[in-house]
Every structure is written in C-alpha cells, then in structure tokens.
Amino acid sequence: MKPAPFEYVRPGSVDDVLSELGRDGAKVIAGGQSLVPILAMRLARPTTLVDINAIGDLGVLTSVSKGLHVGATVRQRAVQHDPTAARIPLLRMALPWVGHRELRSRGTVCGSLAHADSAAELPAVACCLDATITVASPRGERLVAASEFFVAAMTTSVQPDELVTSVHFPYATTNQGFGFAEIARRHGDFALAGVAVRVDARDPFRPTARVVCFGVSDKPVVRDVSAWLASAVATEGAETPEMTIRASLSDGSADLADDVVDTVGDAHGSTAYRRQLIAALSSRELARAYIRATQDQVETT
C-alpha cells in the first residue's frame, strides 16, 4: 500500500498552481483525506501532486456579501467551529456527519466538493443552499453554481487545468428552516441515503421547499417540493403540528423516493431499502424544517 512514484510541488501562489496544473497528470492535494488512500492503493497515479496548502489566500474563512467565503484549504472542522457558520444552520447540521473528527481536521470543504462523492454531505448542502464555487484557470476566474458544478459520480465541471479556490454559502434568512439527516451503516460512513432540506415559510400557507437527496444517485438530486409541503400545511399553516405534517407528507414520500433513487444498491443498502430511507427521511426532515422556519428557530441538530 505505497503510492507509485510522483513528483511533489508546493507552490506559493494560485498562478503557480495553475501553471503546475498545466502539466499532464497533475493533481491537486489539499486535505488529502480521499486522495491519499487512493494513491496508497495505486488507484490514482498522478505524475505530479500539487500541494496548495502553502497559499495563504486559500486559507481564508470570512464573511463576504451575506454569506460565508470558504477558501480551498479551510478545514471542515474550522468551519464547523467558526461562529459565523452558525448563520448557515444547514452547514452546521451536516458537518458532524462528514467522516469523523480526525478526518474533518484535515479534510477541506472545497476538497469534498471537488471530490464529488455522490454519497457525501457537503455537495448536497451546496446544492440545497445554492452555494457558488469559484474556479480559477489560466483563462481567469469563473463562478459556478452548485447546481452546475456536480456532473456525475466523482465528476465536476472543473477542468484538469482548473483549481477550486473557494466556495460561498449564503447566510440563512428569516423564515427559512432547514433539515438534515442521513443513514449510514456506522456513524461517519458515507450515507446509504441522506437528505438536506430547505424551507422558506414567509407565507406559512404557501411555503417553498427543496429537498436534496444524496447517496442514492450519481450526484446530489435536487427536487422542488413546495407543492407537496404546501398541501400538508394548506389548512392550518404555521399552526400545523409536526406529526400531522409528517403524516400527510408520508403519502407522497414514496413517489419522491421512486423518482430520486436510481442507484443499483449494494450489500449495505439495496435500491428498495434506500427508497424506504428517502421516503422516511424526506418527510420527517421537511416537517422539521417547516416547523423551524415558522418558528424561526436556528437549530443545529
């Protein structure tokens, strides 16, 4: 379990990174939590490893234009414990589910997005919140909406000569509520199925809602479920008890699950079992998110 030979460079600027990435077979390393094991198993054989950890600008975690700017080398654990991140409840809900503490201490938020594992939490969060990813290349910088970023399993719209430099998560606004849940074989494993949920209940009788499902397809699956949620709260609005919302949502949950789950499944979770999970988790988290939105609670779990 030793990597095949590779060259290692540690540039001091984004420009230098980009010129290194111009070489064939170059690969960026930040936290290395996915890449290093793959290297050790010789499943990846980059000719050059471009370490971006020496670039100060990429380590910036700061509040910018009503949101959180997370640089490419900012660790997941740093975001989890940053006071500003409290303004993005969904991020705070999801981060404890990303691997284990040890992994989050090394793993980066941008790295998780760039790796694009279809069962990972952060890509789903990015899609749920309409995060924006900044990508640099010799041709300049471009901003990519999360919905455009994830292409397929382990595949993003980032080109081989490009570098993800940051991601921007917008702060939650009043009347927004969020939900997050996942089921894995063990805590810290990649999800068999998970949901990230965003509800906007400015009008409690006509909320808008989005569910992002992960672990069930080749990338996060985004669905607008406003009508589904609205039908559950149409009568009582903000006065609707959570269990009532869940009960009425459970009717349509199987349809949602049928729609979004298209993974073939494996020994840990068959397609049918994952559908059962999506049905259960989506209705539960949607109800919770609606309650949070109408009560304007900011909850982290």
Partner: protein, 801 residues
Amino acid sequence: MTGLARIEDVPLLTGKGHFLDDLDPLPGTLVAAIVRSPHPHARIRGVNLDRARRHPGVAAVVGPDEVLETLKPFPLSLKAPMPYYPTATDKTRYVGEPVAVVVATDRYTAEDAAELVEIDYEPLDAVVGTYDALEPDAPRLHDTADSNVATDRTFDFGQVDDAFARAAHTVTGRYSFPRYSSTPMECYSVIADWQDTVDGPEVTSWANFHGPFSMVLVVAGALDIPTSRFRLIVPEDIGGSFGIKASIYPYIALMALASKHAGRPVRWTEDRLEHLLASSSGSDREMTFEAAIDEGGVISALRVDLIDNVGAYLRPPEPSTLYRCFGNITGAYRIENVQIRARAVVTNKAPTGLNRGFGGQQLYFGLERLIDEIARERKLDPVDVRKANLIATGSFPYATATGGIYDSGDYEQAFQMALDAAGYDKLREEQRMARERGELYGIGVATIVDPSATNIGYVGLATPAHDRGRGKSGSTEHVRVIVDPQGIVSVLLGTVPQGQGHATVVRQVVADRLGLPSGQVVPRVEMDTRSTPWTLSTGSYSSRFAPMLTSALIEATDRIAETIKVAGAVLLGADPADLELVGGEVRVAAEPERNVAFRHAAGLIHWDPGSLPDGTSARLYEEAAFTPPQSKAPSRTDQINSSLCYGFVAEVVACRIDPDTLQISLETVSTVHDVGTILNATLLEGQIHGALVQALGGAVYEELSYSESGQPTATTFMDYLCPTTAESSFPLTSNHLETPSPLTKLGAKGGGEGSSMSFPVAIANAVSDALSPQGIAINSLPLHPNVLHTLLNKGTNQEGN
C-alpha cells in the same frame, strides 16, 4: 478484588511500546512486497520474474519455482491430499493468495517492482458457497483430492436414534454463520534471516506471532530443517491478535525463503489490504441442529451437522474450528445422546483459523437458535426452555456425552442473575406494550459454556481413532521466577500477550503471594525459542493465561517462598515453618516484631549461602510447568475433555428496530460471567467489553463477504465495517458469579472469549423475537437494516434469512 491497574498502559499510551516495526535487530534488512492473485481460481501457466528482478533496488524475486525448489508443503493437521505452500504453485485458489515475493531496498521500490512480475493465469471456475462446494460437479480446488471435502467424520454418543424414535417432538433448524475477523490494530509483521552454516540452513525470525505452539514445528517442517535450527523471537508488544496472528506462520516460511535468495535479512509488514484479503478469520459454517424433545421442551438427544468453510486450504490448525468445542458441544445443557457430523470443505476463499471464541460462536449460534426455535414451536418462553435443560446446580463436576468434564459452575444461579439484572419480566411487559403500538421490539437470551485452556489433543479427532497413532494432549504452561540480591523478583513470562495485561496479573499474583510491594515484582515478557522455556502448546490462545500460567506461577512462587523462609529463619533464629511473608518482610507469624526484610533474606542466599542449613539449595531461580492431568488424548471412542476449564455466560439482550430506517438499537444488555476466581476485575471487565464489541461486529457490522464469482467484496475498512465507540455504547450491565475451578491453583478460568461466543446469537435471538410477529426467523448473520429490509419485504410467512 479490583486488582492492580494495568502496568502496560503507560508505555503503550506514550508511544514507548516495543512492536516489531520498532525493532531493527539486523542492520541491512531488506523489505518485501508480495504479489497476490487477482483470481479466485486460476491455473498458473507461466511466471516471468525477469523484469522485476532487473528493477533498480531489487535484491531478489521468488515465485512458485523457488518455493517448490526449497520448501516442503506445510504438515497438515490430518492426512488430506491438499498440499499447502506459502505461495500458489500450480494454481491460485483465492484472491489474495501469494504468488511471488519481491525483495528490495524499501517497500516503495518493492511495490514498484511487484507490478513488473508477470503471471500468465488461466482463470478457472470458482466456488465459494459451502453447499455449492459439496456438489459433485463443483469446481475442484485440489486436483489431487477426489472432492472438496477435506474431512468428514461422524460421532455417535449414547442412544441417539432411540431417543429420536421415542421423542414427543423433534425440532430442526438450519443455520449459517458468517466469516469475520477480529481485525487487530497491528497487522502481521515478520523479519526472517536465512543463514547457511556448516550444519545446514538456520533460520531466525522475529514475528508478532503469539506462539510458538505447534506452528513452529509446522514452519520447520516446511523449511525442512529441525526445530532446533529455527529460532522464533517475539517482540515484547503485539498490537492485538485475538487468534488472527496464529496464521502468520506461512509468511515466516516465505520470508525465510526470500532471505535465502536475497542473501540478506528480509522484513515484511502486512498492510491492511493484504490483511483483509488474506490473513485469517473465523470459518464460516453451515449447520443443521435437530433436537428430540418432550412436551416440556426437555432435550433428550441432539443431532448436529457442521460444515466449516475453511477456504482454499486446510491450513493448520484447521479443521480445529470443528473440534475446539467438542467436549462442550451440548453447551450448558444436560443432553446425554449426541450425534455429530463434522465436515470441512475447501472453497475459493481465503483460509481460516483462530478467531476469539474459536468455534464457539459458530456452535452456539446453532445451538442457541435451536433452543429459541424449540420455544417458538412449543409456544414456551425461551427462558423456561433453557431452565428445563440447564445442567443443575450441584451436578459439578459434570461429564458431557462427548467427553468434556465441566469443572465447576452454577448455571441456574448465573442465569437468574442475568435475568434479574435485565429485568426480564419487565422487558416482556415492555415488549407487549411496544407490540400494541406496532413497534418492533425483541428480547434475546443465550446461555453458553465458555471453554478455556484448550487440550490440543482435540485436533486428533479429525482423524479416525484407528489411524491416529499415539494420541496428543498438549496443554503445558511454563514460567520462571528469579530473585536477585536486592530482593527484586523477576518473572520470565513466555505467554506472548497481545495487550491482555498478563504482566499486570503476574505482578499482582506474585506480590500477593510473596507479601511484597507490587513494584518489587518485575515481569519480563519475552519469547525467544532459544532461551525461553516452551512446548508445543506454549502461546496465547484459548484463554490459557488465567487458568494455566497463574497455576505454574503459584508453583514456582511457592518454592521461592520456601527458600526465602529458610534464609529468613537463619537470620531470625526461627523455624521456617513458623514464618510468613507479609509487607516486604519475613516474620514469625506469631511474633510479627521478629522480622527481617525480604531483600535481606534474599541477600543472604546470594551472599552467604554457606550459612543455609545442610540440604538447602541456594536456589532463587524456580521454574514450573503446569500440566493438568485432566487434559488427556482423545479416547479410542472419540471422547475428549477438549478444555481444562469451562466457564459460563448468560446474556439477555433487548433490542428495538426503527420501523422507518430498520436500524437496530440495543436497549438492554445484561451479561453474567462465571470465570471461576476473578484475578483482576478491571482486566476481566475489559475483556468482556472487548468480546462483546467483537461479537457486535460479527452480528451486525462485519462480514468478509465474497461475490458468487469469488471476488472478496469487503477489502477495505470502507466495506469491512468494524464497530467504533459510536456503535458500541449500548447500555450494559455486567455481573459475575465465582465458582472457582478445582483444577487450577487460584480457581481461575479463562474469560476473554465468553461473550464472543454468546453475544452474536443473543443479538440474533433478540432480532428474531422482534420480527416474530412478521413470521420471520433469523437463521444467519450479520443483521443490519438492509438485511432486515429484504426479510420484511419477501412477503412470505415463516421465512428465515
């Protein structure tokens, strides 16, 4: 008594352990990487090592030709035409089987060159399923054998057919037990040095092997050298084994061969991929249990059909998984008539071997599921069925039908303790209410006998009595106790611990026995077959330490005490018989003020032995070998007392299954252990927790699974899921009953394996109970939500998994 705190922990927790990778005993040692088969079954048509040999930094590459040129097949536990070498020779028979070894300056270079080894494979059909391997037209693993059955023996004790003919009812269950490991933190590690001397080859090996036991003989056999020319040295610290490292020996032989070709010592450190592919595991087992019962569920006879899937080779000590529990095959129950068919089949999976609980988890999965099945069919409470069949209080020592002699116990009381601690009646009430709410809630019980201090003579049972020759009964444990001129007592401990805390117990026992402050006793953990006393049974397995080593230790320590008293008597002008050892002193028992320091008494023996009475040896160097006379070779009628001691475990588990996610949560776990006299309660509790979590892994999370085509599907920790602290924090009540063994000096039995055997089936019984309203019975493991989902959606009644 809580006992001394672990003295091993400070060095281990501060990074001062001495593991094999911390040692560099032979400067200039080269490093090996192993080329392994990607095919489950393939003929080797050609091997080309030239490119690998030419790679810069490579010292040697050995393949099947080199193996056949120098090595003999490993001696097997029984005569089976299934030759086993450390690499494939004619065919590869499992994914991960070594095919070649590259020796280079470092592991990176060795792995680079390993990619240049060219093997021309002709893939063959593979077979992984146990029943599939029995089919007449199944792919044949060993061309020299006429089937995939490596051993097939039937045993009959009592009047089984009569009992079945007369029985009011018979109950049958067919069960599968999965293959899992204990995943020690430290993988295999070997250094081997081959030297050609005027007397022939000589091999020295450092290995994190908790032997030597009989495996030294097996290695020497393969190397075709006398055991005296094979030297094994075990590092002070081993990062866990749980039996798994007993299968390291083929790599010792392989690295010795690599060293011969490299002309230098060779080190090989197994990585986790290799470990999960090809180290060892418990065997998976298919089994059928059939009971003849009366109206009350009392069992009069038992038929047992066991088929172990031992993987591609009958790697010694297999097929011992079949026989380790032979003497206690009827468990905690009074069953006089027993018929056993014991088979081992070879398949295109990795070879199996020792794993904590060795044979017990497989056996009790069948037996304890059967007890629950009896309860279900006869509409009885599973607790009542057990109570009706338990060996009664006051029946000990109890002779089992198969030759076991249960040394002590009070099963009825221990079982009741477990039920009381769990609040069994309340749990049933909770279940009733839960079911009314439509929830899935189940209660599982297991009562098992926990054998310890194996009598390795049971291996002989695989061979019919008329072919066995002279029987074997190995079961000896050695120790050496030394007192230096300052009265420091050192203990040479050849029990090759892998983290259990042997040194702590030795310090505690000796300090207690000699009346010394614990710091004055210095255990030295050491195994060097050139200087440490050992026999073919020496090593750490079958929970031998507590019953065996401490017995030897008491013998040796008591002789030291006698000598010290003689010296003390000289200094005090007293009669040695009137003296006692207390508080670091030798003193007259009736006049404590007449005393002399222990170290002064020891000093007298070193400095002034001439003052000792005539006939007293100035000997502060005592060895003892504890050999229990109860461990005999198998009888001509195939009975054997397969262990020296038999403890007892009762477990009660309550679980709830989330109806949405089907996640299983253990809400109550009550365990009661009777390990005889408890030597150190802290260590025992640690062993129990460890065994429970290991069992939880096998019951719920872990499986060394294979696809139909023979590809392993759990080759990294992404798929082989060991429970972590997050999965292991179930509510636990652990209680103890102490019925001392009359056969060991301190009354202690082993205790490290009990829950490994009982907890998997206790969980299965609980889950089965939870799902019984759905008509589902659990007949295999592991049990995780996806499995339950499949069961619940089969839509058929009375279906098992």
